[in-house]
Amino acid sequence: MQIGESIATAWHMLRGNKLRSFLTLLSIAIGVFSIISVMTSLGVLQNSIEGGLSALGANTFQVQKYPNNQGGGPGWRMRMRNRRDLTYAQGLAVLERTRGARHIGLESWKFGMEVRWKNMVTDPNIAVAGETPGGLPTNQWEIDRGRPIMQSDLDLTRKVVVLGYDLARILFPPSYNPVGETVVLAGVRYRVIGTLKSQGGLFGNQDRYFIIPITTFFERFGKNRSIHIMVQAASRENFADVQDNVIGILRAVRDVPPGEENDFAIFSNDSVIRQFNETTSMVRIGTVAIAGVALLAAGIGIMNIMLVSVTERTREIGVRKAVGATRGSIVSQFLSEAVVISLLGGLIGIALGLIAGNALAVALDIAPVIELGWIIGGISACCFIGVAFGTYPAWKASNLDPIDALRYE
């Protein structure tokens, strides 16, 4: 019933002491800002990873020889060194025997190559991918012009290539259709059969792909290399089944004894995100700790201005008591003032934090993020601070003797 009254007096108090109010609001706002801005940027980063950074599409996982991240623990390096390659034959076994997959792609990579067309030569930064037909959809590569790699290309070891968007842009004049042209890689001529649509992504020019049939790739660069297996499950529901299926096939063909760890690595978008969250959890913990200290300081600031305010408004408290304010109503008035101040500071912090955090989203050109959980957490923290640090001043105010308070000069 007296909430309106409390907010009004809080507002009076803030306006009456602009500098003091500003500093207190600032300290709260900084604490909340740091949480919201960091959490929002992490949310933006996570979204961008989900959306573009990973080449893996929905319901897709990848098998390769080594894990993506550096592991640890005793003997890790040794175990890794002794790992056997993931061979093409094993990949073919997966391709033939896996049930419930929509696409399965086998691929092998060679990086840092030069490609030439007529007088045009690229920098030696082209990534050559030997692919099976399933490798295009599992990599989320869409054909722009021409056609994709087909089984017959593999069977006949054709020297044909699908060019990544950026590679085609580098080699050919704008709006020139390269399909049918001949390009040269490592002294061998390839006929261009298609080009890819642009993929975009976090790190810009990443579509400098030179995609050839995997059999041609082996013929050119040797067969004794480890491949990647990419599997897209038919649906989210059977994702886990398909993954188990593939693991089972690989363990069988690689003779992994029961009870032993897989001697190959599997990852998916989920695991990439999990890994992201693991590496950023320290950032999150650190931010919460720093913000906690900032908010503690802010709380002490609030207690300070509330104590000053109680002293300055002793006569007002006396007047209120003289016309019938109970202890409880004085307590709730000062408590709500403290909460109003900390909430106001918190809302400013949240607003600025959202703007700062989403500046990253604007820079990356992806949708802004609103971390609702952290916003609610920030608001709750502000309420808590207001109550925790407002209690003593409010108690002090309510305990004033009405006649002493009225006489206070």
């Binding site: 006569r315 006396g318 003289a322 016309v323 019938g324 109503s329 009405p402 006649i403």
Partner: protein
């Protein structure tokens, strides 16, 4: 039964070096709808007595019964409720909230009475109109003259329709013309059935009352009934 029953009330201030006896054994009864003036030299204990009667201060010893209730036995909330609903206090120094409008100042007792915002506004406006401040409702105290401020204080005292109005030198800071205006308000209230207790130094103000109690050195020196009190109408 008397509305106010005071028996052997003592108020002593311990100043360390000496004891100050503000009230040294005051006994008096005040009935409903009395109009009492309290007089006496400065320092005789008038304000102290008013504060005790208004449940703002507690006596060092003695009995104070308000409407049959022993005030000494009431807890904080019960005291707050009496101050809120039964007593309207007009202070010598106005004691308005400086940053609030006249309207809000008058609403204050209603806020603590838990009255809804719209009803509160209506009553406060009514009270301000009755003290002749219809056109000053949104003014803050420092935008009002002394007499207007005192009228706001009177409006605040009467807004919750208390049974008793306590006025501690309500005209002390005012010129005689505005003083008379304030006195008119009190006379009107008395005629509506309120009990009025008024502290004053001025005999002609006291002459409005029906009973004059004189204090001296914290004791009741005389207590007389006035046969023919002056009414406001006679003075104009």
């Amino acid at each position: 039964m008397a509305l106010i029953h005071i028996k052997d009330v003592v108020k002593t201030y311990d100043m360390g070096a000496e004891l100050v006896h503000a009230l040294s054994g005051v006994s008096l009864d005040i009935e409903e709808n009395e109009y009492v003036a309290i007089m006496g030299p400065s320092g005789s204990g008038k304000s102290t007595l008013m504060n005790v009667v208004g449940c703002l201060d507690t006596p060092t010893s003695g009995l104070y019964e308000f409407g049959g209730q022993n005030v000494g036995e009431l807890d904080d909330n019960e005291l707050a409720e009496i101050r809120n609903r039964k007593i309207g206090f007009v202070f010598q120094t106005f004691n308005l909230l400086p940053r609030s409008t006249a309207l809000h100042n008058v609403e204050l007792p209603l806020i603590y009475a838990g009255i809804s915002a719209s009803a509160r506004r209506e009553k406060a406006e009514e009270a301000l109109v009755s003290v002749g401040l219809a056109d000053r409702m949104t003014h803050k105290p420092n935008e009002l003259s002394g007499g207007q401020r005192q009228r706001v204080a009177v409006a605040r005292a009467l807004v919750n329709n208390p049974s008793i109005i306590l006025a501690d030198e309500p005209t002390g800071n005012l010129d005689s013309k505005t003083g008379i205006e304030i006195m008119q308000l009190l006379v009107d209230l008395h005629q509506k059935g309120n009990t009025i207790i008024l502290v004053t130094h001025e005999e002609d103000i006291a002459a409005h009352a029906h009973r004059v109690i004189r204090l001296f050195d914290g004791k009741v020196a005389s207590d007389e009934v006035i046969e023919n009190p002056i009414t406001y109408a006679e003075r104009t």
